[in-house]
Amino acid sequence: MKSLTRGHLKAGFDSVRRAKMRNFWTMLGIIIGVASVITIVSIGEGVKVQIAQQVSKSGKNLITIRPGTVNINDGQNQNFNVLAGLSITGSLRPQDADIVTKSKLVTASAPLAAISTKVVSEPAGQFRNGVVIGTTPDFPTLVNQSLAYGVFLAPDDMGMNVAVIGEDAADKMFDVDVPLGHAFTIGGEEFIVRGILEDFNNTPLSDRANYNSAIFIPYDVAQKLTKDNAVVYEILAKTANENDIQPAIADIEKNLQASHGGQEDFSVLEPNEAVAVKNNVLTLMTGLISGVAAISLLVGGIGIMNVMLVSVTERMHEIGIRKAIGATNRQILSQFMIESSLLSLTGGIIGVVIAFALDGLLRFFTNLRPVITWEVVLIAFGVSLIVGIIFGSIPALKAAQKDPIEALRSQ
């Protein structure tokens, strides 16, 4: 019986090979379905991995303080407005940075204040894409970032017109490779480049500003430039180790609340919470899009069924001959089932190959780093095989139950 199956497999391969074009179109639905399911799931996985890397890079003891309250899916509240910024109901004030710094167990902290002013440099002229951020010397320590050239803002630099710029900003603003000591203007005032940061590992869906094109200036200078109107959009704080996080958060919350007149119009997020926000959204999005992609698997299955029905009709005479020389209904059934399974499985394999190719392209052209896990490949494979079996069974049954004389008569 085993060798007969091998014969059927060979016959199946033959017939798949014979009608290449037709079978390609048949498999297209499966190919698209498998490729898109794998790609979407792997993008989602990849983003999660990148976020996790970002968290582990900036350390598990980084506390983020944001204006407004962020709703996190706590199991009771299925809120979709989980992205920070969509639900801002309060603000952080300049003096909040000091409160955080003075809180218990906080070893380092830095406010981040974005200001909107004109940045002009020679020879590039106005630099429109950059964001000017006012911060304090602790910033690189907080996000574990080192400098490519020069030094970061030192405590002595507070109040002075110096700047540390990101890698992209350095490229775009100046025509020299290392523009240390070069001057440019922010809001009409002249600043000197003090240092150039190394490339920030930018992750997709990150809630951070693009630090690679940012210009960091001392916090008090930023406040002075905007006449104390710089918006603090984030305060970062760090503790000595992970165990100190919870007490530190409690103290920060208590101090800030006291300072905000008892209003809880800010959020103090521990590292995991910042990730949780994004993972929820990701899981939801990945699920939704995969569902849509899975429909194309279904459509692909129907395509296979149609082609197999045509194939059965075309080969009715062959079925008649096979039955006359002693093939049982079961043997005819398995012959056609194997053929349709081969079609869908071949489609599945091509789909996986395309998914890997897409993965490569995405890695090359975007900052996405999709992760294709063997589970998702296995599931996509399994689903395409099941689709072949389910949708192949109808034509195969039709072939198997054909009356031998009638089948022999048809040409």
């Binding site: 060798s3 091998r6 020389i325 002693g326 049982t328 209904n329």
Partner: protein
């Protein structure tokens, strides 16, 4: 014990007014080792008889014993297995699978029996040697001549060592040289002890048979033993043994009988050889060829 025992076997197609009696209470016993030729005009029920004996079709009424077992009520799968193990088919149009090599075609019945690839290849190869076309093993059917194709088909029919070989006009698509080749081969198979049943329109081919059965309108009207090498006594006289027209004519409803009628009215004798005919049923009275003969 007879190999084939048909007892008042009938086959009705269709329902109600549209029903046709393709086989009308046919009673026939064929012993092991006989070489039987079946003759009759188109539409006389030869093919239906062959299909019933070959277990491709189930009789509507009557009892059919094959090799001592009643097979008139077999389920499709049981019939398939019985076909595989006891019957070898040879068709007019060869019916080899066009995409398989000659060797694979011959080995196919063995595959359905579950033999290993090496065993079935060996047996099929031996069988091709026996029919004399072993050098064409790896050819595809469309690379072979008609005679070679029929030899391959005979090899396929023989490969399972069947008790019964059924050939439906095995020489119908062949020229006389190839026909002789095929008939000699069948004759040889018969000499080794097989039972062979074949349909023909050519009276000359009754030389190979040991017995000739004549059919008309679904009934067996005459049955005579004949010596090997001699044309059966009645065969030449029978009007309806004129070779059939092409298949296209058959499809258009023009039977050889109807075409022959106006020019040779005097030869309508064979009816006389009818002996012990059962009473005609109502359905038969309204059948097409009956009207034509009136």
């Amino acid at each position: 014990m007879a190999l084939i025992e048909l007892n008042e076997v009938s086959k009705v197609y269709g329902f109600g007014d549209a029903s046709t009696l393709a086989l009308d209470e046919a009673t026939l016993t064929i012993e092991k080792g006989e070489f039987v030729a079946i003759m009759g005009p188109s539409g006389s029920g030869k093919s239906t008889l062959m299909n019933v004996i070959g277990l491709l079709d189930r009789p509507s009424h009557g009892v059919f014993m094959l090799d001592g077992k009643s097979v008139s009520k077999l389920k499709p799968n049981q019939a398939a297995k019985a076909r595989r193990d006891t019957i070898g088919f040879i068709f007019q149009s060869f019916n080899l699978l066009p995409r398989l090599s000659v060797l694979e075609n011959v080995a196919l019945p063995l595959a359905y029996r579950g033999l290993s690839l090496s065993r079935r290849t060996k047996q099929a190869s031996n069988m091709l040697e026996r029919v004399g076309i072993q050098d064409r093993e790896y050819f595809l059917p469309n690379q072979l001549s008609g005679g070679q194709l029929q030899c391959a088909a005979i090899a396929r029919a023989l490969v399972n060592n069947p008790k019964l070989i059924i050939a439906d006009e095995p020489t119908g698509n062949l020229d006389s040289a190839a026909s002789r080749l095929v008939m000699e081969l069948l004759s040889e198979i018969h000499k080794t002890g097989n039972t062979v049943l074949f349909v023909t329109h050519n009276p000359e081919l009754t030389r190979y048979a040991t017995r000739v059965v004549y059919m008309h309108d679904g009934s067996i009207i005459h049955d005579e033993p004949t010596a090997l090498g001699q044309v059966a006594a009645t065969a030449r006289k029978v009007l309806y043994t004129l070779s059939t027209t092409s298949e296209d004519d058959d499809l258009a409803g023009v039977s050889a009988l109807m075409m022959a009628l106006p020019t040779k009215p005097a030869e309508r004798k064979p009816r006389k050889v009818t002996k012990g005919k059962p009473a005609k049923s109502t359905i038969r009275r309204t059948s097409k060829s009956d009207k034509a003969s009136k």
